[in-house]
């Protein structure tokens, strides 16, 4: 039985220039509600730039980003977050002087959640992701992997979270923490219907998590489909996987 799908995110002819360098080049891409999409490509192919464009950190040179049909590429990052889009960064960017628990409260507060409700959800999420025992620890004391995990879990504080953009979440992370991350992503996708766009070089993990994969090269979308389909695409083999 086919599941009814709705287009959550539509990117149309998006381009981004940095001086003479075109980082994203006439890129069009669609994301269905409830899917976990992988975004792969060689270094410098425009994956992080695309995440920055969707989350409002960069403004596009041309083209548009539509979220449930509403144009969002002219909105500032805080307004895009209000639409239900969260993101992580390649290197865990936490509020280092604040405790792990306080880090969790921020996205809840910005959507008007009360302290009691926010604390309850924060505790649940931290316990599930095995960070509960570190709740009162200043975030700067966490290891790289723990920091990355907290960065991901912190985003789940937003309710409803419709789209989560994860930028290299598994890079350099201990396998145990990676398993917790994967479990958390799958649970939030299953239980709360969160859609994910995951940038990663870890093809094994991407294969495990994602039903569809988009491949970027030189700022352009060169292939899209299941892992099997893209792995057999000559353009992908040529530019990314190697022949």
């Amino acid at each position: 039985m086919r599941r009814e799908t709705t287009t959550l995110l539509q990117i149309e002819n998006l381009a981004k220039d940095f001086g003479k360098l075109r980082a994203v080049d006439d890129l069009s891409l669609g994301l269905e509600e409830g899917e976990i999409r992988g975004l792969i490509g060689p270094n410098g192919s425009g994956k992080t730039t695309l995440i920055n464009l969707i989350s409002g950190v960069y403004k596009p040179t041309s083209g548009g980003v539509y979220f449930f049909g509403k144009r969002i590429d002219r909105l500032p990052p805080e307004k895009i977050t209000q639409e239900g889009i969260m993101r992580t960064f390649q290197v865990a960017r936490l509020f280092g002087d604040m405790t792990v628990f306080d880090n969790m409260l921020i996205p809840a507060f910005t959507q008007g959640m009360g302290k009691r409700q926010a604390s309850h959800r924060a505790k649940q999420l931290l316990d599930f992701s095995l960070l509960g025992r570190l709740s009162n620890e200043p975030a700067r004391n966490l290891s790289g992997g723990q920091g990355m995990l907290l960065q991901i879990v912190r985003g789940f504080m937003r309710q409803p979270l419709r789209l989560y953009l994860l930028d290299e979440p598994f890079a350099g992370v201990h396998p145990v923490i990676k398993d917790v991350m994967i479990g958390t992503i799958q649970k939030m996708n299953r239980d709360e219907g969160v859609t994910f766009l995951i940038v990663s070089h870890e093809l094994t993990t991407i294969r495990r998590l994602c039903s569809r994969i988009s491949v970027l090269h030189a700022g352009q979308l060169i292939s899209e489909g299941t892992m099997k389909e893209v792995a057999n695409d000559p353009r992908v083999i040529d530019s990314y996987l190697g022949g």
Binding site: S55, P77, E78, T81, L94, F95, M98, I106, R158
Partner: protein
């Protein structure tokens, strides 16, 4: 359980220290002379300025150099309304609050999108403009000759009354900042902005709005402090907007401990007492303070409060180690 009781004990210890400190400042007028009461009164004025500047510089990273100008705006607003228009002093002080918050809002909207050095330059230029304006509008402000301001409290008990008035103002300011920073969403937002502004935005915080809001609160507090100062001192001159005044506020915050509530309190009292004690050395005091700021910024940026905390932690660790050894 052990950890819980340890936390309770450390809270008790901290509470006892705060209580002892509060008792000390409350009872000080009973065993000190009038001169030192005045020194403390001025120190409390600087506690208000330093603490409110710390709100923007320490908690949002906005290095404004116009804080003394807001004190002057408040001071002159109240003084002019009371002397020229016959307003009661309390109404003058309320007007001081309004004028300084309004100016804070305007300057905030204009400047708070600027980054570090540009913000510092723009706010410094604003403060200089205020100083020059006060000097030039002789007919209104009496310029460098100074504006005589009706004093609050008169008679023999004036020094004691003013001491408690400024102590009250400083206490209210510190309590307000404690409430804002530790028990409100605003405190979370400002700390998040200080740590990483872009991530704060991505988390949904309207950073510019909160920075302007904290700037307005900070300017308003400075304005009220300036009004109190004017009605205490009885004379206002453009010296109030001299850059040395701003430098003194920065020195107090950095030496006491930026990004903490007790830091500026300790810094302001300590520096004011030192300033008065070594008055005979003149401007050389500022050079010594500046060197101390450089040393702290280079070696120990948590300031005096950080040193005290580290010292207390070391004692507690040594004590725990000794107890462990006896067990």
């Amino acid at each position: 359980m052990e950890n819980l009781s340890e936390t309770k004990i450390s809270k008790l210890k901290r509470g006892s220290l705060i209580l002892a400190g509060s008792l000390f400042v409350c009872l000080l007028p009973f065993w000190t002379d009038q001169y030192y009461m005045q020194v403390f009164t001025i120190a409390f004025y600087y506690v208000v300025l330093a603490s409110s500047w710390n709100l923007i510089a320490g908690y949002t990273g906005q290095f404004s150099l116009a804080h003394h100008a807001f004190a002057a705006i408040g001071g002159y607003t109240s003084a002019l309304l009371v002397t020229r228009s016959g307003f009661p002093v309390w109404m003058g002080m309320f007007a001081a609050l309004l004028s300084s918050t309004l100016m804070g809002f305007i300057l905030g909207v204009l400047c708070l999108r600027m980054r570090a050095i540009y913000l510092a330059i723009a706010t410094w230029a604003f403060a200089e403009s205020v100083r020059i304006f006060i000097s030039m509008t002789y007919k209104l402000t009496r310029g460098d000759l100074g504006l005589a301001v009706p004093k609050v409290f008169l008679g023999t008990g004036r020094a004691v009354a003013c001491y408690y008035l400024f102590l009250g103002l400083a206490t209210v300011t510190v309590l307000l900042l404690l409430l804002l920073m530790n028990h409100s969403k605003m405190g979370y937002y400002l700390r998040a902005i200080r740590d990483d502004e872009m991530v704060a935005r991505v988390m949904g915080i309207h950073t510019t709005r909160w920075k302007i809001f904290s700037f307005i609160i900070s300017s308003g507090i400075a304005g009220v402090a300036g009004a109190f100062y004017g009605h205490y001192n009885g004379l206002l001159t453009p010296v109030m907007v001299d850059f040395n005044e701003m430098a003194l506020i920065v020195i107090m915050v950095v030496i006491g401990g930026i990004r903490s509530i007790p830091g500026p309190v300790i810094g302001a009292i300590f520096i004011e007492i030192l300033t008065e004690t070594f008055r005979e050395f003149g401007e050389i005091r500022m050079v010594v303070f500046a060197l101390a700021v450089i040393a702290i910024a280079r070696l120990y940026h948590e300031g005096a409060i950080g040193i005290v905390r580290q010292f207390a932690q070391r004692i507690s660790r040594r004590k725990q180690g000794r107890e462990g050894a006896t067990e």
